[in-house]
């Protein structure tokens, strides 16, 4: 994780500077696919464990839908985090910003304007916080690790301040927010569709647009990217705003799921998001990675939690399992790196 602190110049000297015009994703062949296969394999393996240990409960539509709904919050955040990390940065503030957005959107004043304003408010607060981090990093020249760490602490504090450290309930007249998780279309609650929409939009943005290509370029070698005519600073700013936007959307989902806004929401999400991105095969130093991998990473973690609870095991064992998986994934990632692209 401390890798995140590496300076831009250090990254410029990185192993294999990739030309910014290289194929987006840069992982079309070779290690990328192997890594994905590994994750799909892990998912299948976990699925088999589920079927064997809990044959009656695991493969039910209710459980599978439940897993997707649980993954929605952290999944949306992970999409934003993937962009930031591919762009050579890190965002530690995601959980705190989501908490702040949820609290801001559920204050009595905001709630009096109805559910639409609440949702817009959450998105604006998230994006705003992301912009602040982005400005500090891109124009204030703060190391991303420090800037977003500061945002983590400050956003959590502001959330506590606004809510007076209380749990703010979504009021009955705004139950359209809650309906996002209770209304089902084709068997899936709406929050899952939000998650899917964000993931698809993110994938298109990363793989099918100039913006995405520039993200890889900036993360891979900022100096080369600058020489190629990319406004690196503005691009960096946009990446953090994008991450903030995702936090805002995640705040809407968490409000829908818990029917509350609270400063305690999103505790340690930054670690979950970074872990999912990393086991998804994205380089922590930037320049390489895939969105599909990150999403698979989120699903692996959510599935583990589900399996452990289905089998009545304690949370402490879950944490150990997650740690082991991160280490294995990163070891595999390093093997992949050594082989020529």
């Amino acid at each position: 994780m401390t890798d995140a602190g590496v300076s831009l110049t250090e990254k410029a000297r990185g192993p294999r500077p990739k030309p910014p015009w290289a194929r987006p994703g840069g992982t079309g062949r070779g290690p990328g696919e192997i890594r994905h296969l590994g994750l799909v394999g892990a998912l299948v393996l976990l699925g088999i464990v589920g079927v064997v240990t809990e044959p009656d409960n695991f493969l039910t539509s209710g459980n599978l839908v439940g897993i997707l709904a649980l993954a929605a919050t952290i999944g949306v955040i992970t999409v934003g985090a993937t962009f930031v990390i591919i762009g050579g940065g890190i965002d530690l503030s995601v959980g705190a910003v989501m908490a702040l957005a949820s609290v801001w959107a559920t204050t009595l004043a905001t709630q009096s304007y109805g559910p639409v304003v609440m949702a817009v408010c959450a998105i604006l607060v998230g994006t705003g916080a992301g912009l602040v981090s982005g400005l500090l990093i891109a124009y204030g020249r703060l190391v991303p690790f420090i800037a977003t760490l500061a945002m983590l602490v400050a956003a959590r504090g502001l959330a506590q301040r606004l809510s007076d450290r209380k749990t703010q309930l979504v009021r009955p007249e705004n139950d359209a927010i809650e309906a996002l998780s209770t209304t089902k279309v084709l068997g899936l609650p709406l929050v899952v569709y939000i998650f899917a929409a964000v993931a698809v939009a993110g994938w298109l943005l990363l793989n099918r647009t100039t913006f995405g290509r520039r993200t890889f370029a900036v993360g891979g070698n900022p100096e080369a990217a600058r020489l190629a005519g990319i406004n690196v600073r503005r691009h960096t700013l946009t990446l953090y705003a994008l991450s903030g936007l995702c936090c805002g959307i995640a705040a809407i989902i968490i409000m829908a799921r818990t029917t509350t806004g609270s400063s305690t929401h999103g505790d340690l999400y930054e670690l979950d998001a970074i872990a999912a991105v990393i086991i998804g095969g994205t380089l922590l130093t930037g320049g390489r990675g895939t969105l599909a991998g990150s999403i698979l990473g989120v699903l692996v973690f959510t599935l583990i939690t589900n399996l452990f609870i289905l089998n009545g095991l304690q949370t402490s064992d879950q944490l150990i399992a997650k740690g082991v998986i991160i280490v294995i994934a990163v070891l595999l990632q390093r093997r992949g790196l050594r082989s020529p692209t």
Partner: protein, 352 residues
């Protein structure tokens, strides 16, 4: 990088939108709409001659900083009770979650020579020394909830009963299921932070009480006292058990998330019991739904602590007891709030 171009149109639009957003957002932060319901308009059972103004006393008060509704209610309740008495000067110190700061805050109260101290330590072990110092200086200490290990460190302890809370929940669930005639019930437990002694005591009390009915806990899983973790754990637990007869959730704040998970899963076949006694949980009980009861662990104890401290300083006893002086320890009963008695308890509920 020379960036002295004229800002692009897109840039201007974007900047403008951001500023507008900021303006809009700042208008949305107010939280003061309805008047804060005063939690301690309670008058309680204590009374008799003791309520009449007596010797003037100064009560020092130190508690952890509020990080959730229950702790916030502790300070509010203490304040409200102190205000009721014309002979009490209430001297609170800045609440803090830092052990060192709380120690120096208590030291400042000792050197200010208050008549009596009400102390809820962040950690009983770590504040034991300074409480002892107060006692040695002749200032009686009323120990609130988190107990000091050394009996010489406090004059009176008043607090909740975590084991009793579990027992009350177990009794309620056991009796309900027995009356229904369920033979092998599926009983599920959503705990708080598993590593805390208070959680372990609650779980032990619950299991012990159920044993008396011949029942056992089918599954338990720990959440972290937050709404989000309550939601997450409950959502998974509900998947693990297709048919549940009763669910006990340790804490009403995380219970908001548990209730949301139950609603999202569309489950109605079981009933749920809570813990702590938040106003919100009581409103749910009153409305009638899956949450059927909650067991109190009431922050009103802070109000009682102030009253007891006042009596100690005035050298009086509890009116309804025979003894001349206030008892050495007072453990609150864990009261079961159901639809039948919820109206009486609502004023005592705290906003989580």
């Amino acid at each position: 990088m020379s960036d002295n171009r004229i800002p692009s149109r897109r840039g201007l639009l974007f900047g403008g939108a951001a500023i507008a957003a900021g303006g809009l957002a700042t208008g949305c932060t107010s939280n003061s709409d309805k008047g804060d319901p005063t939690p301690a308009a309670q008058t309680g059972a204590l009374g008799g001659d003791n309520d009449k103004p007596g010797k003037k006393v100064t009560i020092g008060f130190s508690a952890p900083a509020a990080d959730h509704g229950w702790i916030a209610a502790i300070t509010k309740n203490a304040q409200a009770q102190a205000k009721r008495y014309s002979d009490v000067t209430f001297k609170p110190v800045e609440p803090t979650n830092d052990i060192n700061q709380q120690i120096s805050a208590v030291e400042s109260l000792i050197s200010a020579k208050v008549d009596v101290l009400v102390l809820q330590p962040n950690d009983g072990e770590q504040l034991n020394q300074v409480a002892r110092k107060a006692m040695d200086a002749g200032i009686p200490v009323v120990n609130l909830d988190r107990v000091f290990p050394d009996k010489l460190s406090y004059r009176t302890w008043i607090g909740g009963d975590n084991y009793g809370l579990g027992v009350a929940a177990g009794n309620h669930i056991g009796k309900r299921l027995k009356d229904k005639g369920v033979a092998k019930p599926v009983i599920v437990e959503v705990q708080g932070i598993a590593t805390l002694p208070l959680t372990q005591e609650r779980s032990k009390g619950f299991a012990d009480a159920l044993k008396a009915f011949g029942f056992t806990v089918t599954a338990k899983q720990d959440a972290k006292f937050t709404v989000e973790t309550g939601n997450q754990v409950a959502a998974n637990l509900l998947q693990a058990h297709k048919k549940i007869d009763a669910l006990w959730n340790h804490d009403d704040d995380q219970g908001v998330g548990v209730l949301a998970a139950i609603k999202q899963a569309g489950r109605t076949e079981f009933f749920m019991v809570g813990g702590a006694g938040s106003a919100n949980a009581m409103r749910e009980i009153k409305a009638g739904g899956v949450l059927e009861a909650t067991i109190t662990y009431s922050p009103t104890m802070a109000g009682s602590a102030i009253r007891v401290a006042r009596l100690i300083a005035q050298d009086k006893g509890l009116a309804d007891l025979v003894e001349r002086q206030v008892p050495q320890s007072i453990a609150l009963a864990s009261e079961t709030v159901t639809k039948e008695n919820v109206d009486a308890y609502l004023p005592l509920g705290f906003e989580s």
